[in-house]
Symmetry: C2
Subunit: 247 residues, 2 copies
Amino acid sequence: MSSHPQLCHSDCDDCPIRHRAVCAHCDSRELEELEEIKYYRSFEAGQTVIWSGDQMSFVGSVVSGIASLTQTMEDGRTQMVGLLLPSDFVGRPGREGAPYDVVATTDLVMCCFRKKPFEELMARTPHIAHRLLEMTLDELDAAREWMLVLGRKTAREKIASLLSIIARRDASLTKRGMSGPMVFDLPLTREAMADYLGLTLETVSRQISALKKDGVIHLEGKRHVTIPDMGRLMEEAGDDTDGGFLV
Amino acid sequence: MSSHPQLCHSDCDDCPIRHRAVCAHCDSRELEELEEIKYYRSFEAGQTVIWSGDQMSFVGSVVSGIASLTQTMEDGRTQMVGLLLPSDFVGRPGREGAPYDVVATTDLVMCCFRKKPFEELMARTPHIAHRLLEMTLDELDAAREWMLVLGRKTAREKIASLLSIIARRDASLTKRGMSGPMVFDLPLTREAMADYLGLTLETVSRQISALKKDGVIHLEGKRHVTIPDMGRLMEEAGDDTDGGFLV
DNA sequence: CGAGCAGTTGATTATTGTCAAGGACCGTGG
DNA sequence: CCACGGTCCTTGACAATAATCAACTGCTCG
């Protein structure tokens, strides 16, 4: 109840994700069309944005905060299958039902477009479809990167991989670059990390303690992380550290 | 050396994947354009089609046979991140390098388009881009399904999941439907299955033996599988067996 | 026939999960 | 103010699952 939903954005020109979201290449005429079918919605941490199986009446972009896509088995085992950060797109034009639960991991603001009109606009505007294809290909790459993490990495490597991804995303968001020590707050609970990595929360906790003991990371409190040497972390993650930096 | 590469296809009208591939919705004029930039290539089982990191000069569709996308870590651990069946698309218009190795798992025929001209055609032909988006979204769904398998399922469930997917794909290809016992040949070695499932080949072998002992599957030789009760297999896979059949 | 490959099976070890107890922090209400 | 309950996290003891190492079978091909 502490956060007061802010539904007062309205101008795409001021939008923090203007240049990265699905609308990135839209001209001002197209933005006007989008403004007519868009609306903002806020969610508190923990709220479910979309239930798996539900009809979807909108598609949209994450403006601020973090959402997760999760799949759940009958017996309760759950696996996170996507982490949605600002500018990421939610929903599939041309599809009816939602295949996964979408949950607000932190407080969340979404820019929603009514689905039907958006689909029509997309049909008339090839470069929106093109941008969406581009973003979907990126998501597919990210998903495949995670398949390697899930299938072949050890618990320690999994944690290091997650930390390195969060660190890089944070760096690209705050434009602080990747030289020198990196500092950020973990946006996920231990349990959410476990669901992302296919581990138990106990194992997550143990491996974080181990990385801390070995000086790979520093912790203040439970969430505030400092990474003194990014190269070291990437070695721990089992990633290629030499050669060009991955974006 | 036993299979003699057949490079004699040329007419899209007779193409076995005509209605499912990226060209599914093309009219005859567009097909003519495609015919001009296309060529067929054959690969033997085990050959590498594209090396990770290489420049890609073509994109294309699997016509017959099976290819796999794999990622490899420096120390040799490998994870399969995609299984490409007839009609599946290879390559990413708009991107330079290949992010994964593409390997022919069986003898393979590909319908290749020269990349540049294909990209130009795509820019002029929105519905090709649209079809590609549709196929990419399907791949993304499949990848996320696998993330659940990799992250949360037991070895036995993983094997059952793989068998049920192969069985369903085979059924949709041969149009034999899913009622009654299903019969097919495994197109993968134990090692390839292990790479797909994030297991060792020994564990794959043991779990297949266990499923056979328990009557969930029958085996003739090492590759010929009969599934007497598909519902039983899907229970073993931990999948929702009630409710609508997943496509 | 022997080499080589794909697969199976056994013995043992290692990693991670499970179960259990307890600590740190936070807001609430007496 | 402090006790209470709740959530999130940590740590320990133990168990289970899958990996590793190793031997061996059966088949195919030259």
